[in-house]
C-alpha cells in the first residue's frame, strides 16, 4: 500500500531512465517551483513598478496619508511573517515523520494566512468607506491591484496548505513525500517576502 502510494500527489513528472535520477540531483517539481517564483518576481516587479510610477501622481484624494493605518497593517504583516515560521515547523515535522505536528503546523500556517486575508478584507472595506475605490484615482487603482494580486497569491497558498492538510489526514502524504510540503513552503515564503517589499514600498516609505 505504502509503496504504491509513495507519491500520491502530483505525479506530474515523466519517469526518468533510472528512478529518481536527474542531471542536477534536484527534483523536477522543486526546480519548476523555483523557476515559477523567478517568473513571479517579474510579475510582482511589474506591478510594484506600476505603483511606484504612479506614486504621488493622483489628481484627487484620498491619498495614502488619508487612509493608511500603519500600526494595524504592521500587525497583519507580523501575522504573515509568523506563518513562515510555522511553515518551517511543518516541514521539519514531516521530515521527522511526525504526522500530528505536521497537521498542526500546516493548519496553523493556513489559519495565519487566513487571518492576514481577513485583515486585508477589513482594510479594503475600511478604505472603500473612506472613499478610496479602484476608480477614484491612480492611488486607488494601483494600490488595490497590487495588494489584491498579493492577496490572491496568499489565498492560493491557503488552499494549497489546506489541501496538504487533508492529504495528510487521509493518509496520502507520507514522510517520503516531504517534498510536497517543501515546495508549498517555497511558495509560501516567497509570498511572504513579496509582502515585505510591498509593505515597505507602499506603506512605510513616505510619499
Amino acid at each position: 500500500m505504502h509503496d504504491a502510494q509513495a507519491a500520491p500527489l502530483g505525479r506530474h513528472a515523466a519517469p526518468p531512465a533510472h528512478p529518481g535520477y536527474t542531471t542536477t540531483g534536484l527534483d523536477h517539481r522543486k526546480m519548476l517551483m523555483w523557476l515559477f517564483l523567478g517568473s513571479d518576481c517579474m510579475f510582482f516587479g511589474s506591478l510594484i513598478g506600476t505603483y511606484l510610477a504612479y506614486r504621488g501622481r493622483s489628481l484627487s484624494g484620498p491619498t495614502p496619508h488619508d487612509v493608511f493605518d500603519i500600526p494595524y497593517t504592521s500587525v497583519s504583516a507580523f501575522v504573515l511573517l509568523m506563518s513562515s515560521l510555522t511553515m518551517v515547523l511543518a516541514l521539519a515535522a514531516i521530515q521527522h515523520g511526525d504526522k500530528r505536528r505536521l497537521q498542526i503546523w500546516l493548519i496553523t500556517t493556513a489559519l495565519l494566512g487566513m487571518t492576514f486575508l481577513g485583515g486585508q478584507f477589513y482594510e479594503f472595506t475600511t478604505f472603500y468607506d473612506e472613499g478610496l475605490s479602484l476608480q477614484v484615482n491612480l492611488f486607488g487603482s494601483s494600490f488595490f491591484t497590487l495588494t489584491g494580486f498579493h492577496g490572491a497569491h496568499v489565498a492560493g497558498g491557503v488552499f494549497w496548505l489546506l489541501y496538504l492538510t487533508a492529504a495528510s489526514i487521509f493518509d496520502r502524504l507520507n514522510p517520503e513525500a516531504s517534498l510536497y510540503v517543501e515546495i508549498a513552503g517555497l511558495y509560501w515564503h516567497f509570498v511572504d517576502v513579496v509582502w515585505i517589499v510591498i509593505f515597505t514600498v507602499v506603506y512605510l516609505v513616505p510619499v
Binding site: 505525479r11 506530474h12 515523466a14 542531471t23 523536477h28 523557476l35 517568473s39 476608480q135 491612480l138
Partner: protein, 657 residues
C-alpha cells in the same frame, strides 16, 4: 553483437491495471491511432507535430492577411479594402505572425528535437506540455473568433494603450485580442517552464552543458527569456483589462494615467520577445551549417556565450522602441549604447557561422541554402537595426517603411528562413521521408528573390517618406508611377514580390504533401547528423531511446560514428577535421556496441511511458471559457472556473500508470 540502439519493433506496453475513474473513462494505454489519441497525447513528439501543424495553418492565415495588405497598397487611392479593414489586417498580420506562427513553430521544434538532442525519453512534465499546446490553440482560435463577433482586433500588434482603452476602442475587438494574448502567454509560460526543467534536469549521462547541442542551448536561453519577459505583458494586459472592465485609471489620461506606462511594460516584454523569435532560428542554423559543411561548429563556446549575452543584454534595450517619446538625452544615450552593444554578440555568432563554412566540404542542399540565406539576410536586417540604435537616425525612420523593411529582414529573412531550414533539415526525422530537393531549391530561390523584392524595396520607400499603417496614398508622392505609368512603382513591385513569396510557399506546400506520400525513405541518418536525434529511427519510437545514450564529447553522434571517444571534451576537438572520415551505420554500430557491450539488449516493452490524459485539454478549455466569459457573459466564466478546478483536481489525482 546486435546493436541495441535500433530495436526492430515497438511492442505495445502491457495494459495497466484499471485505475479509479475520476470524471470520465481514462485513456490508460498509450494509443497511437485515431482522433482521440491526438486529443489525449502527452508524447512530446506528437505535441511538436500539433504545434507545427497549427503554426503552419496560421502561417497561411497571416500570409493571406499580408497579401491583402499588399493588394490594397499596390496602386494609389485603392479601394480594395476599407481603412477599418486595413487596420484589422495589419494588426492581425503582426499578431498572427509573431504569436501564432514564429513562436509556436519554434516551440514545435523545441518539443520534437530538444528531448532527442539531450537523450531524454520525454519532457519533464508531459501533461503540462499538452496543456501548453491546448491553451495555445484555444487562445489562437479565440482571438480570431473576434472576426465573427465584431471584426478582427484593430489596435496594432503592440496595442498602444490609450488607443486600446474603452474610450477609443469601444467594441469587443480589443477584448478578444487582450484575452487571447493572455491565453497565449499562459501557453508560452507553461511550455517554457517545461523546457527549462527538461534541459537543466534531464540530460543523459555525460551531456554537460558545454557538450549540449547549440539548438538546445538556444532553447534554454529562449525559455529563460519567456519566463522573465512574459510577466511584464501579462501585467500590462491585466491593467488594460481592468481599465476596460472595471474603470481603473492606469491608462486614463484625464485622471493622470500615463500612456508611457503601457509603452514601458509592453517593450520590457517586447524586446526580449524579439530574441525569443530569433534565437530558436539561430539555434537551428547553428545545427545545420556544421552538418552540411562536415565540420564542427566553429568556436562553440563563443556561440554559446554569445547566446547567453544576447539573452542578458536583450533586457536592457527596450526603450530604443521609444526614442521618439522624448525620454531625455540620458535615457536615450543609455539605450542607444546598449542597443549597439547587443550587436557585438550577434556579430560574434555571424563570424562563427562563417568560420564554420570556411574550409568545409559543403553540400548545398535545401536546408543549407536556407541556413546560408538566413545568415546573409539576417546580417542585412542586423545592420539596419544598428542604424536604429542611433537616436537621430531613428527619429527619421520611426513609423516609416524603413522600419518595416528592417524588422521583416530579421523576422522573415531571419526567423522564417531559419525555420524553413529547420523544417528541411529535420523533416526526415519527423516523418521518416525526405522532402524533394528540386522543389526545395525552387522554394528557396523563389522565396529569397520574392523576399528581397518585397522588403528590400521597402527601405527605399521608407527613406522616401512613406509612413507605416496608412491604408492608401495619393499618386503624386513618388511611391508609384514610373515611365508615365500610374500603377508602376515601388509599391506595385513590392506587391509583385509578395505574390512571389506566396508562390514559393505554394511550392513548399506541394512538396510537403508530395513527400508524405512519395518522399524517399530517409533512414535514421540521412544527412550524417552530428547530434543524438540522428542515432534513432525516423520517425522515432515513442520511448525515443531504447538504451539511454551516454555522451563523451560534443557532437556526440559524430564522435561515435568516427570513433572519437575522447575522454575529455575540447582537447582535440578543434584540430581534427571531419572531411574524409569514414561514415556509415556499421561503423557506428561497432563503436556503439563496444561501448555498450556490458549492457544487455533491452526489451522495449518494459520501458515505462506515462499514460495519455484528457485533463490538459479539459483544463485549457476551462481556462479559455473563464477568459471568454469577459466577452460572452460572466456565466461562462463561472462555468469555466468550475471546469478548470475539476480538471486540476483530476490532473493532480490521476495516476500515471
Amino acid at each position: 553483437m546486435a546493436t541495441t540502439l535500433t530495436p526492430p519493433q515497438v511492442t505495445a506496453p502491457a495494459p495497466t491495471p484499471a485505475a479509479p475513474q475520476v470524471v470520465a473513462p481514462r485513456p490508460v494505454t498509450p494509443a497511437y491511432h485515431g482522433f482521440t489519441s491526438w486529443l489525449t497525447t502527452i508524447d512530446h513528439k506528437r505535441i511538436g507535430i500539433l504545434y507545427g501543424t497549427t503554426a503552419a495553418v496560421f502561417f497561411l492565415v497571416g500570409g493571406v492577411e499580408a497579401l491583402m495588405i499588399r493588394m490594397q497598397l499596390a496602386v494609389p487611392n485603392n479601394g480594395f479594402v476599407s481603412a477599418d479593414a486595413f487596420n484589422q489586417l495589419f494588426t492581425m498580420h503582426g499578431t498572427t505572425m509573431i504569436f501564432l506562427v514564429i513562436m509556436p513553430m519554434s516551440v514545435a521544434f523545441f518539443n520534437f528535437i530538444v528531448p532527442l538532442q539531450i537523450g531524454a525519453r520525454d519532457v519533464a512534465f508531459p501533461r503540462l506540455n499538452a496543456f501548453s499546446y491546448w491553451a495555445f490553440l484555444f487562445g489562437a482560435l479565440f482571438m480570431n473568433m473576434s472576426y465573427f463577433v465584431s471584426g478582427l482586433p484593430d489596435g496594432g500588434w503592440f496595442g498602444y494603450a490609450p488607443l486600446t482603452t474603452r474610450t477609443y476602442s469601444p467594441t469587443e475587438r480589443i477584448d478578444f485580442w487582450l484575452l487571447g494574448l493572455q491565453l497565449l502567454g499562459v501557453a508560452s509560460l507553461a511550455g517554457a517552464f517545461n523546457f527549462l526543467v527538461t534541459i537543466i534536469n534531464m540530460r543523459c549521462p555525460g551531456m554537460s552543458l558545454m557538450r549540449m547541442p547549440v539548438f538546445s542551448w538556444n532553447t534554454l536561453v529562449t525559455s529563460f527569456l519567456l519566463i522573465l519577459a512574459f510577466p511584464a505583458i501579462t501585467v500590462a494586459l491585466i491593467l488594460l483589462m481592468f481599465d476596460r472592465y472595471f474603470g481603473t485609471n492606469f491608462y486614463y489620461a484625464p485622471n493622470g494615467g500615463d500612456p508611457l506606462l503601457w509603452q514601458h511594460l509592453f517593450w520590457i516584454f517586447g524586446h526580449p520577445e524579439v530574441y525569443i523569435l530569433i534565437l530558436p532560428a539561430m539555434g537551428m542554423v547553428s545545427e545545420i551549417l556544421p552538418v552540411y559543411s562536415h565540420k564542427p561548429l566553429f568556436g562553440y563556446p563563443f556561440v554559446v556565450y554569445a547566446t547567453v549575452a544576447i539573452g542578458f543584454i536583450g533586457f536592457g534595450v527596450w526603450s530604443h522602441h521609444m526614442f521618439t517619446v522624448g525620454l531625455g538625452p540620458i535615457a536615450n544615450s543609455f539605450f542607444a549604447a546598449s542597443t549597439m552593444l547587443i550587436a557585438v554578440p550577434t556579430g560574434v555568432k555571424i563570424f562563427n557561422w562563417l568560420g564554420t563554412l570556411w574550409g568545409g566540404s559543403i553540400r548545398f542542399n535545401t536546408a543549407m541554402l536556407f541556413a546560408v540565406g538566413f545568415v546573409s539576410m539576417f546580417t542585412i536586417g542586423g545592420l539596419s537595426g544598428v542604424m536604429h540604435a542611433s537616436v537621430p537616425i531613428d527619429l527619421q525612420h520611426q513609423d516609416s517603411y524603413f522600419v518595416v523593411a528592417h524588422f521583416h529582414y530579421v523576422l522573415f529573412g531571419g526567423s522564417i528562413l531559419g525555420l524553413f531550414g529547420g523544417i528541411y533539415h529535420w523533416w526526415p526525422k519527423i516523418t521518416g521521408r525526405l522532402l524533394d530537393e528540386k522543389l526545395g531549391r525552387l522554394n528557396f530561390w523563389l522565396m529569397l528573390i520574392g523576399f528581397n523584392i518585397t522588403f528590400g524595396l521597402m527601405h527605399f520607400l521608407g527613406v522616401d517618406g512613406m509612413p507605416r499603417r496608412i491604408y492608401t496614398y495619393s499618386p503624386n508622392q513618388g511611391w508609384s508611377g514610373w515611365f508615365g505609368l500610374d500603377w508602376l512603382g515601388w509599391n506595385m513591385l513590392i506587391t509583385i514580390g509578395a505574390f512571389l513569396i506566396a508562390v514559393s510557399v505554394a511550392v513548399f506546400i506541394y512538396n510537403v504533401f508530395w513527400s508524405l506520400r512519395h518522399g524517399e525513405i530517409a533512414g535514421n541518418d540521412p544527412w550524417d547528423g552530428a547530434t543524438l536525434e540522428w542515432s534513432i529511427p525516423s520517425p522515432p519510437p515513442a520511448y525515443n531511446f531504447a538504451v539511454e545514450p551516454t555522451v563523451r564529447s560534443r557532437d556526440a553522434f559524430w564522435a561515435l560514428k568516427r570513433r572519437w571517444q575522447a575522454v575529455e571534451v575540447g582537447e582535440h576537438h578543434g584540430h581534427l577535421t571531419m572531411a574524409g572520415m569514414p561514415t556509415g551505420e556499421v561503423e557506428f554500430e561497432e563503436a556503439h556496441s563496444s561501448e555498450e557491450a556490458h549492457r544487455a539488449p533491452v526489451d522495449v516493452s518494459s520501458i515505462h511511458m506515462p499514460n495519455p490524459s484528457f485533463f490538459p485539454l479539459i483544463a485549457a478549455l476551462g481556462l479559455t471559457c473563464m477568459l471568454a466569459g469577459f466577452v460572452f457573459g460572466f456565466g461562462l466564466s463561472i462555468a469555466g472556473a468550475i471546469y478548470l478546478i475539476v480538471a486540476i483536481g483530476g490532473w493532480a489525482l490521476e495516476p500515471t500508470s
